[in-house]
Symmetry: C2
Subunit: 354 residues, 2 copies
């Protein structure tokens, strides 16, 4: 057994259970990079899930990770310093940085012998219900998906901003009374139109609206927030800690995702900053394996809304981790983030030594 730190990464393609269609794209897979950080016989697992539209690839993530000088980990507990230096290696690369942060926290949690929710003093029952994302489909398909999922899930999330918005909502309502969260992905450009849509959504059991207008439409968003009967949540507008303050007064809440914000340490800081600014908090995800989802789940007791269905949409999840229970993604009891490879020997998770 080597006394040196080792960081290994391997490309893996997440296969989605259902074709995932958004307004401008449709896909059946999500590329991810699985990472192992090992020292002293303990392995921390991390992941960099990269939907193509965000610009990172398995190659750019692997290249970024190869630039990390592992001598930084002389004292691996100094996460403020270590992750600060990793962040400074290059701009961007948020998902790659998240993979390293997640693997490091997994390793540290294993050394501490506890899952992170316990280290943070949290009550797992405080984890809010997660939403389950329904993609863009024909109304009858949406009705069928909603009917099938309504037993397991206590909230749905749908993408709006297309031509069939009201039909989508109607199809879900034909099948179930489950609360709905909508993500407009900056799709509305007229504030009066946006307000009318939100007022209608409020009559349909919708509980929040994500990013209804473009990030740059700050004045319109603030105008909308003052009048909206539903909470307005920032998604594209807030990537990292430094962005949280600008959301105050413009949005009611922020959607924090590990792959946007570079990992568990910064996500926790963002949650606390949001609280201080009276912003509500959603913890979201990409389609990702149970590795990254389990890392997010450790923080879920701190937030108001969870949107952590990423691994549930994956057919070939290489990890066993946080599970759905009574509509919640419950943090694992195992140390670290608690996700473990389904089979260390699985040839799909082949590792390359550095």
């Amino acid at each position: 057994m080597s006394a040196n730190w080792q960081l290994r990464s391997s490309a893996f393609t997440l296969e989605l259970r259902h074709r995932f269609t958004l307004a401008n794209s449709s896909r059946t897979t999500t590329p991810t990079l699985l990472v192992e950080l090992e020292y002293d016989g303990i392995v921390g697992y991390g992941e960099s899930a990269m939907p193509p539209y965000l610009g990172e690839t398995q190659a750019t993530a692997a290249e970024f990770l190869a630039r990390i000088d592992l001598a930084l980990l002389r004292d691996p507990f100094r996460t403020a310093e270590v992750l600060g230096r990793v962040n400074a290696i290059a701009a961007g690369n948020h998902a790659a940085k998240a993979a390293f942060d997640i693997a490091l926290h997994d390793w540290l949690g294993k050394v501490l012998g506890q899952p992170w929710y316990r280290i943070h003093g949290l009550d797992p029952e405080q984890a809010p219900v997660t939403s389950y994302t329904i993609g863009i489909h024909a109304p009858e398909t949406v009705r069928q998906i909603a009917a099938a999922a309504s037993g397991q899930y206590r909230a749905f999330k749908i993408k709006l901003g297309g031509r069939q918005d009201r039909e989508m909502i109607g199809a879900i309502r034909d099948a179930a009374a489950t609360p709905i969260r909508v993500d407009v992905n900056q799709g509305w450009h007229d504030r009066d139109h946006a307000l009318r849509e939100i007022e209608w959504l409020a009559t349909q059991g919708v509980e929040l609206v994500e990013q209804p207008m473009p990030v740059a439409s700050v004045d319109d968003l603030a105008w909308l927030r003052e009048r909206s009967p539903l909470p307005i949540v920032a998604d594209e507008a807030v990537q990292r800690l430094v962005d949280v303050r600008s959301a105050a007064g413009v949005y009611d809440g922020v959607n924090i995702k590990l792959m946007k914000c570079t990992g568990m340490r910064e996500a926790r800081a963002m949650i606390e900053r949001a609280r201080a600014l009276d912003l509500r908090v959603m913890l979201g995800c990409m389609t990702e394996s149970s590795c990254a989802i389990s890392a997010a789940a450790q923080l879920a007791p701190l937030v108001d809304w969870a949107d952590l269905d990423g691994a549930l949409l994956v057919a070939n999840d290489p990890f066993d981790g946080a599970m759905l229970s009574d509509g919640r993604i419950v943090p694992c009891e195992r140390p670290g983030h608690g996700a473990v490879p389904r089979s260390i020997a699985d040839p799909r998770v082949e590792s390359s030594a550095r």
Copy 2:
């Protein structure tokens, strides 16, 4: 060995190295209550230090602690829930609550096998220099104290608002160029006078002013802050997390003390809230033993100014803990807060089983 939780407390009188004189009081001792929280052979140490003017006594603290139902500790890692319930037992009793929080964190850190600064991912070298408090004395005495202390300390703190303010500053400056922090304890009542004093202090190597005017003089304090060449720090105005927000716009920073804010968990939350509100942070103390000082020291890397000289003013410190090094109080490397009784068998630290 009992499988049950035990909480023991014992009164202890801290003897001060020098008579401590403030504008309205003078004393040679500080009463404290030492607390032991034990389970499974692990003992967490806590302390409730109670300068008489704050209203708590060894008796009220012991009575409060006796009201804690230790069945709460079914899962001791759920500190958010456990400490929330302890807080709800009764209003006030901040120092007693702090003793329990400190003992619990010591116990948890020992189970995790690490000091809290490492669990929080902090770099101990980020701990700022601590100030050393010089009480109110004749100028010649002040000069002697400053001369003797200037080798060890990199900042002094003095109480102003008396008749000899300028003589005190002058006496220190006769002896040393060490930066000075001043605490006015609400002593100035005219904002123009306060501004003139602060402008003069700024010419004398003073680096900040604590609580220059009464807590209720919010408008005058905001006026003063806009004009002051030195940062204005809230002390009496901010006790707990709920008070931090009101300091924004009125003060430049807040002084957080474990004995005011009920312990390590709330102190950390206050630091984070203050950061989010662009407030600077001082971590302060009462005269207290190395037990409570060591708990505070674990958080010191998070703050701008430390005022953690409490145990250095004590002649009969019953704990061995965080030490002064190059002007800083450096967090202990031992697990938990790291302070351990100088002698478990010391008859002054007699424990009474519950």
